[in-house]
Symmetry: C2
Subunit: 349 residues, 2 copies
C-alpha cells in the first residue's frame, strides 16, 4: 500500500510499504477513506518532534473495516468507522470514566502502532474499544458528511474539550484564542453549549475570520497583544470572559488567554504546549482555573456524532483543501505556510 | 491604642498609635478580641513583601463592634463579629456571585486600610458587606469557640477553598500538601466534604502529624520528594489522588502536588505563590486541572460558621500558642522558626 513517510525536516512523501495485517485477535484493519493533516503534525514536519526518518505519520482518519481479529465482537468487515486520534481499550477505569486519553493499554498511531492515518490502510489495535461506526448499522454515510465526520477524529472533539475545560455555560461570554482548525471547532462547540457571545481572537486572515463568523463567532478581533485585550474588555463590559478557550499552545497565546479571562473564570487549553510556563502569581488574585490537555476523543465521538450526522453543525468546512494522498508533501507545505486551514487527504486517488 | 508595626526585616513590635475612627458612614470600628499571625505575614516579617517600615500588619481578627457609621444597617455596637481577611461591599456582581475576593470596592487590612488586625482596634470599611456576626443575635460566643471562630477569618476558609478548587467529592482520595495551619484546615475541610481518604504530606514535625491525624488525616507521609510520591502511589493503588490540595506555595510543593495527582484530577492551590512556574507540558497528557487563588473568605464564613458554632469541627486547635499583643515580636519569632503551628494574639492583655 501507499503511506506518508517522514524523511526528515520539511520532507514528508508517499512510499510503497507493506500492507498492515491483523496481528492480535483484538485488531482490525481499516481502509482509509479520508485522512486529515493536523497542526500537531507540523512539529514532526519541522523536525521539532521525536519522529525519526522513516516514521509513518497521521492520526486523523475515517474509513471502512476490511478485516477483524477473532476476538472483535462489535465490528465486521464493511463497517464505516471513525477513529479517535488515540486507540484505547474501552474497558479500564479511565475508559469507562470518560478519560480514554489515559488508558494504559492505549497508544498513538505512528508511535505505539507503526501505521499512521495518512495511508491507505491502518492497523487498529483494541478495535472494539477504539472504533465508532458513523451510523448505527455500520453503513456508509452520505459522502458530503465525510469532512465533518473526519473532524470527530481530533479537532472537533478537541474544541469540545476546550469548551468543557473552560466551563462554558449557556448565556456566558467565551473567548476563543486561535483561528486554526481547533479554534474554529471550539467556536462550533461553544455554540453547541448555548453560550451567549463568542469572541474569536483571529490572526488577521480574512478567510478564517469569515469562516469563524459562519461557524458562529459574534465578534472577530484581529488585533494582537494589548489591543486585542482592550477590544475584548470593550465587548465584555470591562469584565473579560468567564471562559477562554486556548487553542494555540504558545507562550504568547496563553498569556493573551490569561489577560482576557474574568476573575473566577477558566482557561480551557488544548494547544499542545511548547515551552509554555504559567506564572501562578499572575492568576492568584483572580482565581483563574486552568484546565485542559489531550482531549479524550474516544469518549466525545458518541456525544458529538448525532450533531454531525443530523447536520446541526458543519465543522467539516475547516477542510479547505482536499488533495490526493500522493500530494501529501504539498498538503504539508500549504499547512506550514498557513495557506490552508486544514488539508484533507484522499488515499483512494 | 496599641498596634503591631513593621519596623524592618525581622522587627515587628508594638507601638502606641492613634485610635481609628469612623471616617465613612459605611465604616465600623471593631475592638479586637483575638488576632492571628498568618504564614503570609512572614513575607512581610522577612522583608520580602511590599510593606514599608511603619506599616501596620495583620489580617485575621474577631472582636466586638464599638462604633458604626450612619449608613451601617446590619450591625450595632456590641455585636461580636468575624472579619474576613479582605473587606468587600457585599453588593457588586463579584460579591453576590461568591467571589468577594475580586470586589472592586474592597481591599486588604494594613494596605488599603491603614489599620491592621494585630492591634486593639480596627477600622472596617463597608462594614455591612464585610463583617459577619458569630451568632445570629450578635451576642458573644462561648470563649472556648474563639480560636475556631478566628480560623474563619482566613485559614479554615482557605483550606475550604483548596478543597473546592481541588474538586473533592465524597468517597474520593485527597492529598494535602503542607502541614501549616492552612494544610491542617484543608484536612478539616476535606473531612467536611465527606472524602474517603485524606493523605497528608507533612514536613516531619511529630506534633503537626499528630494534629493532622486528630483533625482527620488517615495517612501521614513524612518523606519528601520521590519517596513521598512513592508512598502516595502505594496507598492509592498506583493511581494518585483525584484531588490534591496545595497549601504551601513553593515550586517544590507544587511539583510534588503535580506528581501525586491522578490523570483527570485537580490541584486546588491556595499557597501564595512565590516564583512558582507551572510547565504546562507536565500536565498536558494527564489532563490535570489547576485551580485556586485568594480564597473568597467572606462568601465562605456563613457556610462554615454553623460547623464551628455547632462544634462539628474544631479547627481552632491550630492555634498552638496564645500570646499577649505586647509579645507580638515573640509570636513572629516562633512562627518563623516553625516552633508554633500558628500564634494567636490577645490584645486585651
Amino acid at each position: 500500500m501507499r503511506a506518508a513517510v517522514y524523511h526528515g525536516p520539511g520532507d514528508i512523501g508517499v512510499e510503497e510499504v507493506d500492507d498492515p495485517q491483523v496481528e492480535e485477535p483484538t485488531d482490525a484493519v481499516v481502509r482509509v477513506v479520508a485522512a486529515g493533516v493536523c497542526g500537531s503534525d507540523l512539529w514532526t514536519y519541522r523536525g521539532q518532534g521525536s519522529a525519526q526518518p522513516g516514521a509513518r505519520i497521521g492520526h486523523e482518519f475515517v474509513g471502512e473495516v476490511v478485516e477483524v481479529g477473532a476476538q472483535v465482537v462489535s465490528l465486521r468487515p464493511g463497517d464505516w468507522v471513525v477513529a479517535p486520534f488515540r486507540y484505547s481499550c474501552g474497558r479500564c477505569g479511565y475508559c469507562t470514566s470518560g478519560l480514554p486519553s489515559s488508558c494504559p493499554h492505549g497508544g498513538f498511531w505512528s508511535r505505539e502502532v507503526v501505521t499512521g492515518g495518512q495511508g491507505e490502510l491502518v492497523r487498529v489495535p483494541l478495535a472494539d474499544g477504539t472504533l465508532v461506526t458513523a451510523l448505527p448499522d455500520g453503513s456508509a454515510p452520505d459522502p458530503q458528511l465525510v469532512p465533518s465526520l473526519l473532524t470527530l477524529t481530533d479537532v472537533l472533539c478537541t474544541g469540545h474539550h476546550a469548551a468543557l475545560c473552560g466551563r462554558v455555560v449557556p448565556g456566558s461570554s467565551v473567548v476563543v484564542v486561535g483561528d486554526g482548525a481547533v479554534g474554529l471547532c471550539a467556536v462550533v462547540a461553544a455554540r453547541l453549549h448555548g453560550v451567549e457571545q463568542v469572541i474569536m481572537l483571529a490572526g488577521g486572515h480574512p478567510a478564517r475570520a469569515e469562516m469563524a463568523a459562519q461557524l458562529g463567532a459574534d465578534v472577530i478581533v484581529t488585533a494582537r497583544g494589548a489591543d486585542a485585550v482592550a477590544q475584548v474588555m470593550d465587548v465584555t463590559a470591562g469584565a473579560g470572559a468567564s471562559s477562554v478557550l486556548e487553542c494555540v499552545g504558545t507562550s504568547e497565546s496563553f498569556s493573551t488567554a490569561l489577560d482576557v479571562v474574568a476573575p473566577g473564570g477558566a482557561v480551557g487549553w488544548v494547544g499542545l504546549p511548547h515551552q509554555v510556563e504559567l506564572d501562578l502569581a499572575r492568576v492568584f488574585a483572580r482565581n483563574i482555573t486552568v484546565a485542559g490537555g489531550v482531549a479524550p476523543v474516544r469518549a466525545y465521538i458518541p456525544q458529538l456524532l448525532p450533531a454531525v450526522v443530523g447536520r446541526t453543525i458543519n465543522p467539516g468546512v475547516v477542510f479547505t483543501d482536499v488533495l490526493p494522498l500522493g500530494e501529501v508533501a504539498r498538503a504539508y507545505e500549504l499547512l506550514d505556510a498557513r495557506q490552508t486551514v486544514k488539508p484533507m487527504l484522499d488515499p483512494t486517488c
